[in-house]
């Protein structure tokens, strides 16, 4: 909560223990993060998409960053009373009706296994599955782009089978290659930059998905459907 000493905030905390409400916190004086209550699922994300469209239109908003069942609203100026912003966000969330974004379908050929699949053995250990099963489970699923972030054009994909969930590493890989197909907790995605990365790599994709000189630089957009096609399986 923004101001723990404030009576408003205290009331809200009491409420949240009886009925799950969204939580709003702040980063610095101008940015407010609303986190949806409940499960990490498409239903919650569809309400976040609706909320994003609404908040984007507010005159005091500089920028919004929709995340995974959450949204960061960056204000143009430091507000006089942060509680007013918190209340507006909560009210907008309560009134947000679920929308479905009509996205496109992106098919990404993947080289599963091989030299880039540095974390496949660890995932097999954790899940108790064979490498063949891990790969099959990963490419048989259909994913939705929930949000973009972290690196230019990087899409956070939802729809990973719980059998192959794998927590982010406590010590990130220092140099993971751009193109690595990775799992981070309940999410999957394709690394867009070469560099430190805490997600777990199980394969590699060649496809270029970001072009800064293009009118729409990112290939993926929230709401898109993504399929991974096993171009090669090397186990």
């Amino acid at each position: 909560m923004i101001a723990p000493s404030n009576s408003h905030a205290l009331q809200r905390e009491i409420l949240s223990s009886t009925k799950a409400r969204a939580r709003v916190s702040s980063i610095g004086a101008r940015s407010f993060l609303l986190e949806a209550p409940g499960d990490f699922d498409l239903a919650a994300q569809r309400r976040i998409w609706a909320l994003s469209q609404q908040v984007k239109g507010w005159s005091d908003i500089a920028e919004i960053i929709p995340g995974m069942t959450n949204i960061l609203a960056i204000l143009k100026e430091t507000p006089e009373d942060p509680d007013v912003v918190v209340d507006r966000l909560l009210e907008a969330w309560d009134n947000a009706r679920s929308i479905d974004l009509k996205g496109k379908t992106i098919e990404i050929p993947v080289h599963y296994g091989g030299q880039h699949a540095t974390d496949l053995p660890a995932l097999c250990d954790l899940s108790g599955l064979s490498d063949r099963d891990v790969v099959r489970i990963h490419h048989e699923a259909t994913y939705r782009v929930f949000a973009l972030g972290s690196a230019p054009g990087f899409g956070y994909l939802h729809g990973l089978d719980p059998r192959i969930y794998m927590p982010r590493k406590t010590v990130p890989s220092l140099r993971m290659e751009k193109g690595c197909v990775t799992i981070g907790g309940m999410q999957t995605g394709v690394a867009m930059l070469t560099g430190p990365n805490g997600w777990n790599s199980i394969g590699f994709a060649e496809m270029q998905m970001f072009d800064p000189t293009s009118a729409s630089p990112a290939m993926m957009a929230p709401g898109d459907t993504v399929r991974f096609l096993p171009a090669r399986i090397e186990l």
């Binding site: 723990p4 995340g67 995974m68 959450n70």
Partner: protein, 331 residues
């Protein structure tokens, strides 16, 4: 046109940044000390957000290939023009062939070279800032290198700057009342508690109570802080969410990271606090090894500082406009 004669690593072209694309994962980038950029640009007659050179590794030398007005701002070191010492925060004219040299500043981290007409590299996604992580923007998406020739935009009109220069009282002095230091000399950075502050319980208080040191593993992306680790009472697997510069995240090791200009756009580590926006430029000028303490701020205080900074900038803009008109009339 200017040519880079000597440079260290990670000196880049920057402006006020590339906001508006964080929702597709593109960091805003931009100068670590945007206040220095604005003042430097105003003094040479540019728009506030014109592109400049951000110099953070020294020595640095460039040669002017055209007569240009320039300012070296942000720094506490004296620039040299053909070996002659000049003042920072002052506008001068350089003749064709003159060499500007910047040596390691005494205390601060970064110097900005603003040139009349602005550094004219391609504008990509609304900005001329270099995105080092994304390898685009600025000068070919990379740091400056020896031998680089960089185009400078057309000046609005050569200013009749007196040989003694035309300067301002630098922000750290003019705004001293708003940017205090602790009695022991450590940097005081104001922040507000962020989303997971409560998870840190007693360690939350230890975060505010101790003096942190900016570790050597710090860059434009973020500052890692060394000190007594602070650890949350429970581990939470956070869902990825947007972050902005100033967010103070605590990775499992317990040593906080403050995201800076090249901040990642998303994160998942617990957030203990967030630096108020108007203190970020001071952090941007803090060098590796600097000792700093976080001070709990308030919205009222953040607004008061923002207003003081805004009126300082306005004051510089108005005064320098008046002086330039007077100089033109005299010329």
């Amino acid at each position: 046109m200017i040519e880079i004669v000597e440079t260290g690593p990670f000196n880049t072209v920057q402006d006020l940044g590339r906001p508006g694309y964080r929702d597709i994962g593109v960091s805003a980038s931009g100068a670590m000390d945007p206040l220095a950029v604005k003042i430097g640009n105003i003094l040479v007659g540019n728009a506030e957000g014109a592109a400049v050179l951000e110099i953070q590794t020294f020595p640095f030398r460039l040669i002017f290939k055209r007569r240009s007005a320039f300012v070296v701002s942000g720094t506490d070191g004296n620039p040299l023009l053909d070996g002659i010492e000049l003042l920072p925060w002052y506008a001068y004219n350089a003749e064709v062939g003159q060499v500007l040299e910047l040596k390691q500043p005494p205390k601060l981290a970064r110097a900005y070279v603003a040139i009349g007409g602005g550094v004219d590299v391609p504008c990509i996604m609304g900005s001329r800032s270099t995105s080092l992580r994304g390898n685009f923007g600025g000068n070919a998406g990379r740091p400056l290198e020896k031998g680089d020739r960089i185009t400078v935009g057309e000046e609005a009109g050569i200013l009749p700057i007196p040989a003694s220069g035309l300067g301002v009282v630098e922000p750290a002095v003019a705004l001293r009342a708003f940017f205090p230091r602790s009695a022991e000399g450590s940097l005081l950075i104001r922040a507000l508690p962020a989303g997971e502050h409560r998870l840190f319980a007693g360690d939350g208080e230890a975060f505010w109570g101790q003096t942190w040191r900016i570790s050597s593993r710090s860059d434009r992306t973020g500052y890692r802080l060394s000190g007594d680790p602070v650890v949350p009472m429970e581990t939470v697997e956070m869902r990825s969410h947007g972050v902005v510069p100033g967010v103070i995240q605590v990775p499992p090791g317990g040593e906080p990271i403050v995201q800076m200009s090249d901040a990642n756009t998303a994160g998942g580590y617990p957030k203990i606090a967030g630096v108020i926006e108007c203190d970020l430029w001071r952090l941007g000028q803090a060098r590796i090894g600097t000792r700093l303490q976080f001070v709990r701020s308030s919205y009222a205080e953040a607004r008061a500082i923002e207003q003081a900074v805004a009126s300082y900038i306005e004051d510089v803009r108005r005064t320098s406009g008046l002086i330039k008109r007077a100089l033109k009339a005299m010329a």
